[in-house]
């Protein structure tokens, strides 16, 4: 799925405390690429991700998703947009604690007319043997795999990952990034990864660097490396 961000502005607060967190963002993310949105805390990268995901609305500018523009969508259409096209992965996995791993994946499978085969997906994620366990019985890495599985089961055309390795150790982070790479290769979906970890940019096809609500660098990485080769 191709995404075009057109002069997006976003403000928080009112009056004297009004802050502009996105100051006219323009960029284009091509179908099937891994795009890393890099920047320090407060740079506006998560806000941009939320606007792309239709969770927040831009105060000015718009996001073109294929032929559609999120600004013209009403609440129901935005819901359907998220339902039909998007998958989300969060920093803290956010699995439903009283559901098993398989059921957590079913949460999103339920929304799709043609979900991936869950047991096969669980095998791909290396979680098949844990499918009947609760999230609290698993490590952080396993939980994040499950969260990725939950996002993938709908086979979304756009996968949004907000700091997916932020809560994981070095080795597990690399495993998760490898998994994201693998998913991209297998399903050819567009993936946007928000991170403050500079090393992760090396696996991306496209890197957007942000600072103070603006894109300070936008370039295509001609020679991405595999996640297993990453070091930081």
């Amino acid at each position: 799925m191709k995404i075009k961000v057109n002069d997006v502005h976003k403000f928080y607060g009112n009056g004297d405390s009004r802050v502009e967190v996105l100051r006219g963002i323009n960029c284009e993310i091509q179908d099937g690429e891994i795009c890393v949105l890099l920047g320090p805390s407060g740079s506006g990268k998560s806000t941009l991700l939320n606007i792309i995901g239709g969770i927040e609305m831009a105060d000015a500018g718009c996001i073109d998703i294929g032929e559609d523009c999120t600004k013209r969508m009403n609440e129901k259409e935005l819901t359907l947009y998220r339902r039909n096209h998007l998958g989300f992965v969060f920093q803290f996995y956010n699995l439903v604690p009283n559901l098993t791993l398989k059921e957590n994946i079913e949460v999103c499978a339920y929304l799709s007319k043609n979900p991936l085969e869950i047991d096969e997906l669980l095998r791909t994620l290396g979680l098949y043997d844990h499918k009947d366990k609760l999230p609290s019985q698993l490590s952080g890495g396993q939980q994040q795999r499950c969260a990725i599985g939950r996002a993938l089961v709908k086979n979304p055309s756009l996968l949004l990952c907000d700091e997916p390795t932020g809560a994981l150790d070095y080795q597990t982070s690399k495993e998760i990034l490898s998994l994201i790479e693998q998913v991209n290769r297998k399903y050819r979906n567009t993936i946007i990864i928000v991170t403050h970890n500079d090393a992760i940019k090396n696996i991306a096809n496209h890197v957007l660097k942000m600072r103070d609500g603006m894109i300070v660098s936008d370039y295509v990485n001609e020679n991405p490396i595999s996640a297993s080769q990453l070091e930081w």
Binding site: I55, T79, Y81, R83, F90, N98, T100, E103, L111
Partner: protein, 751 residues
């Protein structure tokens, strides 16, 4: 320095205003009903006790066919009693079909208490029972015609031997519209035709400390003495068996504990609601608690902090509940007693015990339940709080569920996650539905009772005779009263024996036993005494000190009293009376019998009117109960199902992010509560109906008659519909709340 945590209270009340307002209101209503009721009940009880002593209520009365001879009266004097004439004239068909007993002036015993006006001083004046006057729109100064004699109403009174207006001692309830009592002066009483007068004598023991047993023994001696001297005794009733005297005392003695138990159950449920809510707050604030504990806050400081809102709400609810209970609730509860009973004027008393029961005990229950929970929760280490790991027992594995559809499994998981809240909800629904069952079910229960009597009563008129007399059109019956032991209480109950004609056209719903010592018993008899065909029952004649063992041959459909039937010849043989002895006529039409021969006339409406009274007496209570039940439904459902949303608001936010629509989120989270509510409503029905049935058995044990359990399907349907409607109102509120949960809740970084 002031504890900085105390600043959080106002924020907490603001944040959870709906929760605290609901609990506050339910507590206030519970306490105001409890305190108002107990205050009135205790005051009435005190007034009644004083009244019975001061106005010298009788220890027993007996009625004779003719006035006692002086020699018999002299013999009775040896019993160390004060004997008084307590004659009355029976007035039939007053103001329609009401029956009135007009008593002669009373100065020594059963002295009237004056409400309004003055006692009759001349032959033209009459004082009318206050309740009867109220029910028949009789005012002081009105003119009344009784047995063709005109009187002016001089005042309204109550009589201590008629605090409850029972026309017949076996009636289930009093009959305040169909029966009344009045009093005239001696001069006024002399105007009545002698044929309308019943010769009642009341007596009091001079020794005031006799036990019940001694009073019964004395009564048996007196009864025997009267019969032994050829007196035709029509009726003999000691005060402890006289419903007109004892019913209210029994009723009040029993109402109090029932009300207290209901209040305590409700308070315990509310305490658990608070506990569930506090538990949720602690789970939500676990990292804060962990941080405070790590920084040196003591366990007790935090327990105190978290229990304070509970104490504040309970304390305020107690103050407001009591204030309203002792003011606005006095009149409605007073009305319950004063539209049912003939009581002396009420002197309201502040009752310390009632205050302890309705205020101190609920506050203590509330504190103890919540303290236990908080102590238990706070016993975890600060680290566990920091990690939000508050489960005492680790949940090792997920419960294995059948291969249902995803949505069904999800709902089951939600139900399992909130099992504590749902359990409290179940008990709340049980109690509310039970109260509602009482509120909605009483009317059809009473209608059924009246209808069954109406359908099965085999005659229109029953004439008890002072002496045998021939009458055209009636069937001769021998009526006699024996006693048998009631298995539940161990006390004796009166059973009316009917000796009927072999070829009776009236008692034709059964075949008379052909064997000696076999009887037919009424349906009420069989149910109350739990007897079946073939059972042997021992009956006792306390006057002649004889015992009879009789076998149940058949059960008749009659429900008007505890009756036993056999042929008149067999009953005469059994009681060793001359063949052909009779003392009653049963007939389908009015008989032409000289009034001088009639001791008591009962018609169909006398039997039915009493039952109708119950709905009048309970009118106010039913409204209070119904309103309270619906309110309790709403509050408990709101609080306990809201927890499900509060607990899952983060995940509901995720669902929105994933693309779930509102109706799908409702299916996942709200329908789980709807299912639990509906299942609870349905499961509770047989339980409530069982408790209701037990309550009727208990009530039957207190009274002479018997009321069969009956609730039409419509009552059950109404309960479920009311509960379901209450839930739908709450569901609509929850849907709005779900709608307001923002998606960015899911996006906040959290661990």
């Amino acid at each position: 320095m002031r504890n900085p945590l105390s600043k959080r209270y106002s924020l907490e009340f603001k944040k959870n205003a709906g929760r605290y307002i609901c609990i506050f209101l339910l507590l206030v209503i519970t306490i105001l009903i409890g305190s108002g009721f107990l205050c009135v009940m205790e005051s009435v009880k005190y007034s009644l006790d004083e009244y019975l002593i001061d106005n010298k209520v009788e220890d027993a009365y007996f009625e004779t066919a003719f006035p006692l001879e002086d020699n018999v009266k002299n013999m009775l004097g040896k019993e160390d009693i004060v004997l008084c004439d307590n004659y009355y004239s029976s007035v039939e068909e007053f103001d329609g079909d009401a029956k009135v007993y007009v008593f002669n002036e009373r100065n020594e015993m059963n002295i009237p208490a004056l409400f309004e006006g003055k006692l009759p001083t001349n032959g033209n004046e009459i004082a009318v029972d206050r309740l009867f006057a109220q029910n028949h729109d009789i005012a002081v100064g009105d003119s009344l015609e009784l047995n063709k004699i005109k009187y002016i109403v001089s005042g309204t009174i109550s009589l201590p031997d008629y605090s409850s207006l029972f026309l017949n001692n076996q009636d289930l309830v009093m009959n305040t519209t169909g029966f009344g009592v009045c009093m005239v002066s001696e001069e006024g009483f002399d105007k009545f035709d002698k044929s309308t007068v019943t010769y009642r004598y009341s007596y009091r023991h001079n020794e005031r400390n006799l036990s019940d047993k001694e009073k019964v023994e004395a009564a048996n001696r007196i009864h025997k003495l009267l019969v032994g001297n050829g007196v035709n005794v029509q009726d003999f009733l000691i005060a402890q068996n006289n419903q007109s005297i004892i019913f209210l005392q029994n009723d009040m003695g029993k109402d109090g504990p029932v009300m207290e138990v209901l209040i305590y159950i409700l308070i315990v449920i509310m305490a658990f609601v608070f506990a569930v809510l506090s538990s949720h707050t602690i789970e939500e604030e676990a990292p804060i608690i962990g941080t405070l504990r790590s920084m040196g806050y003591k366990k007790w400081e935090l327990i105190l902090h978290y229990i304070t809102p509970t104490i504040i709400v309970t304390f305020l609810a107690s103050v407001v509940g009591n204030a309203l209970g002792y003011t606005v609730m006095i009149e409605p509860f007073k009305r319950i007693y004063y539209t049912t009973y003939c009581l002396p004027p009420l002197a309201l008393r502040f009752n310390q015990t009632a205050f302890i029961k309705t205020t101190i005990i609920p506050v203590v229950i509330m504190i103890v339940v919540n303290l236990a929970l908080l102590i238990n929760k706070m016993s975890l280490s600060p680290l566990r709080f920091l990690r939000k790991d508050l489960k005492k027992r680790k949940q090792k594995k997920a419960a294995k569920l059948p291969n249902f559809k995803f949505i069904s499994r999800f709902r089951i998981r939600v139900i399992l996650q909130n099992k504590g809240s749902y359990l409290v909800l179940f008990f709340g629904i049980f109690l509310s539905s039970f109260l509602l069952m009482f509120g909605i079910g009483l009317q059809p229960l009473m209608d059924h009772y009246v209808d069954t009597i109406d359908d099965t009563l085999p005659y229109e008129y029953q004439y008890i005779l002072k002496a045998p007399v021939e009458a055209e059109g009636g069937e001769k019956v021998l009526i006699y009263s024996l006693e048998t032991e009631y298995y539940l209480t161990g006390d004796n109950v009166d059973v009316t024996f009917y000796g009927v004609q072999e070829d009776s056209q009236i008692f034709n719903d059964f075949t008379l036993p052909t064997e000696q010592n076999h009887i037919v018993v009424s349906d009420s008899f069989a149910k109350k005494l739990n007897v079946n065909v073939g059972d042997e029952i021992i009956f006792e004649d306390t006057v002649y000190e004889k015992k009879y063992t009789l076998v149940v041959d058949t059960i008749s459909p009659y429900t008007n009293n505890l009756g036993a039937y056999m042929s008149i010849d067999d009953l005469c043989k059994l009681l060793e009376k001359d063949a052909g002895t009779f003392n009653c006529y049963a007939s389908q039409k009015k008989l032409d019998i000289d009034d001088a021969y009639i001791a008591k006339l009962m018609n169909r409406s006398d039997f039915l009117g009493a039952a109708k009274q119950m709905m009048i007496s309970f009118g106010d209570v039913i409204t209070i109960v119904n309103v309270f039940s619906v309110f309790a439904y709403l509050v408990l459902m709101y609080l306990l199902t809201k927890i499900v949303i509060d607990k899952n608001s983060l995940y509901i936010s995720f669902m929105k992010v994933f693309g779930y629509e509102k109706k799908e989120i409702r299916k996942l989270y709200l329908d789980a509560s709807a299912i639990v509510t509906l299942i609870s409503l349905l499961i509770c029905l047989p339980l409530e109906s069982y408790v209701f049935k037990m309550a009727l058995v208990y009530i039957s044990s207190l009274i002479e008659g018997y009321m069969d359990f009956y609730l039409p399907v419509s009552v059950y349907v109404k309960i479920v519909i009311t509960g379901a409607l209450a839930y739908f109102v709450i569901n609509a509120l929850h849907l709005q709340k779900v709608k307001r949960i923002p998606m960015n809740e899911a996006l906040k970084n959290r661990e």
